[in-house]
Subunit: 385 residues, 2 copies
């Protein structure tokens, strides 16, 4: 696999959210797409189901052969004992985030986001219900460490939900067993539902991904986990992800899913099946490339005066602090777009604790990444001169 | 095209909701699937986009080339002047029904369902918001006529939404211009949003389909219309439909869609493009066959003592009255499943006014339909003997 083969013309035409919105010459390190075409197994699986005329309404939860394989994967790899009955195909992780907020939050209630700052749709979907999103912030000044001293004080009688994102978007933090046990304890004590977004499980450089639902049966039975293929396999346009939903929460989740979308698109499910096949060889190859990109970018950003970059344990993101530039996150992003013609995401979009940071996506070719970093470095150096 | 080519083995494996749930030997006239494989243009369009690696995130509203064609179609065929900005791709009509209820109804408010009885998800999605669904019932005893004397009294200060289904599921009624003007007048007077489900526009035998949004600009600007291909083209497993959303309502609709699903699956959008290409030849051929099936079924049911069947103007459904059998809708459905091994849908699932009716889907081969009707006739005759 050639992860240097990044076709910018194709991306400008096809990757509307990441590339297509910007004029030619602009480099986008925004949005969570990877810039590589997906593995052939995905195309083959879709073509096969396409040839079989699998066009009628399918099963509400998803096609059985897919759920069987996903249940095995979740049981073996994630340590969450699951049968096909526990698996629910959904049209993307976003839908899963929406769904748990829609079902488990009412006006005046609260959801703790742990860790925070976190992916913007967590905030938006909590707030859309009339509930409040309560951030459990990482130690932003010291390597994004998980704080075990502050979570307890954030749970009160109005709290219904703890929303976990692990591996963590945007900081690239991988939560350890003690961190997860701390969250689990708070959930048990507060009788809370846990929602765990583990979309980046396949993009871990250091450390071991651990599913919070695997800690103990009494945790699993209150935890809804979502996994997906869109990030690591590069198919966000095919809308598919899968949830592990414990028995006690299942009826409400299935009723709503059926009422809102009937079921997930059948061809997107085929893409999920192809992703499962490709994953074993694709993910190690991708990680090898991404690790190089990460190390290169961390080193380069380290040389930029006013910027300070942690080495992420996971995800395709860097989340450097930019406070030394004397601008807000938004101002920094506007400055880099204007002066460096590089698109980055302002850290405050992930919550107040992300203010003073920016998020960069490194999942592109060495050539594109080096060019982007060079431009950033040049723009910043002109700023201080 | 051979609409007699109905492959029951394939359907039992693939059409999980319509066929797969029932033991072999049972004939399903339930669910809204048609039993024919879809036209080849759909497969070709999906295969083409698949080969182009259109896997990144696309446009939130849908791919531009598709929205351009849909805007043209809606302008020319439906008389709703539309640009690509007015078109929103969604993962199915169900999602559109959910979305308008989610956005425009709050607890204690009301939505008028006109006409009623109507497709169950209208009721469920209204009630899920905490609002009340207020049925504007058809004249059930005389050909499902639209009642212009009763609508006004159903609109009050709590009413926010009128939900139209035209052509009408389950009665097969096509609303005329005066009917639609009557609904439009009520919406104007009550300052209501109109939601119009026109999914069955391509399955009209008699009369002319008219979009309520085409009546006048002041109606269009308060009307959200949804169209789709899943029914007439036979691709409900590919989750795609499209909404026409007027400018004044657009921001709320787009914000929520983006937050809930990001965008509609890209390959499902390709299937929509293929459907547009196939529609011109496929729909007349399908209607020719369906008209024969309708006439055959209406005639046969007319011979069954205790059943009374109107000839529908549209949709693949018959909605015969079964009160003469001396059983409720639910009892009749259970009786027919047990004694005739035929699955039908109890009319009360469409609202209280549907009690005493059953819904049958005639979109299958002559052979399958004749067998089903014969079994029903035999079971009923044994009942009365």
């Amino acid at each position: 696999m050639e992860f240097q083969r990044v076709d910018l013309d194709h991306l400008r035409q096809r990757a509307l959210l990441k590339w297509g919105r910007w004029p030619e010459g602009v480099i986008s390190l925004s949005v969570a797409d990877i810039d590589y075409p997906p593995p052939p197994e995905i195309k083959e699986a879709v073509a096969q189901w396409l040839s079989q005329d699998r066009t009628p309404y399918g099963h509400y939860q998803g096609e059985m052969e897919l759920r069987e394989q996903l249940a095995q994967k979740v049981t073996k790899e994630n340590g969450i004992p699951a049968t096909p009955e526990d698996i629910l195909l959904v049209p993307g992780t976003m839908f899963a985030i929406f769904l748990v907020c829609y079902l488990f939050l009412r006006p005046g209630e609260e959801a703790v986001l742990s860790p925070s700052p976190v992916y913007g749709p967590f905030w938006k979907n909590v707030e859309a219900t009339g509930a409040a999103a309560v951030p459990h912030d990482l130690e932003m000044q010291s390597g994004f460490l998980f704080r075990r001293d502050t979570l307890e004080g954030l749970v009160n009688t109005r709290t219904r939900l703890i929303m976990v994102c692990n591996p963590h978007n945007p900081t690239g933090r991988v939560l350890g067993e003690k961190d997860l046990q701390h969250i689990a304890k708070a959930a048990l004590e507060g009788d809370l539902v846990i929602f765990s977004d583990e979309l980046y499980e396949d993009m871990v450089f250091e450390g071991q991904h651990l599913s919070i639902a695997s800690l103990a049966p009494e945790i699993a039975k209150r935890t809804i986990t979502v996994f997906g293929f869109s990030k690591a396999l590069g198919i966000p346009g095919y809308r598919v992800a899968y949830m592990v939903v414990p028995g006690g929460l299942r009826n409400r989740v299935l009723e709503a899913t059926r009422r809102i979308i009937v079921h997930t698109d059948t061809l997107a499910q085929a893409a999920a099946l192809g992703s499962l096949r490709a994953r074993t060889w694709w993910v190690p190859a991708l990680l090898k490339h991404l690790r190089q990109m990460r190390d290169l970018a961390v080193e380069r950003i380290g040389e930029i005066s006013g910027m300070n970059c942690q080495r992420p344990q996971a995800t395709p993101f860097l989340f450097p602090e930019v406070k030394g530039l004397g601008m807000s996150s938004e101002e920094t992003a506007r400055f880099l777009l204007e002066k460096a013609k590089v698109v980055v995401q302002p850290g405050n979009q992930f919550g107040q604790a992300g203010e003073g940071f920016i998020r960069l996506n490194i999942a592109t070719s060495r050539e594109v990444l080096e060019e982007a970093l060079e431009r950033i470095q040049k723009a910043v150096s002109e700023l201080s001169s």
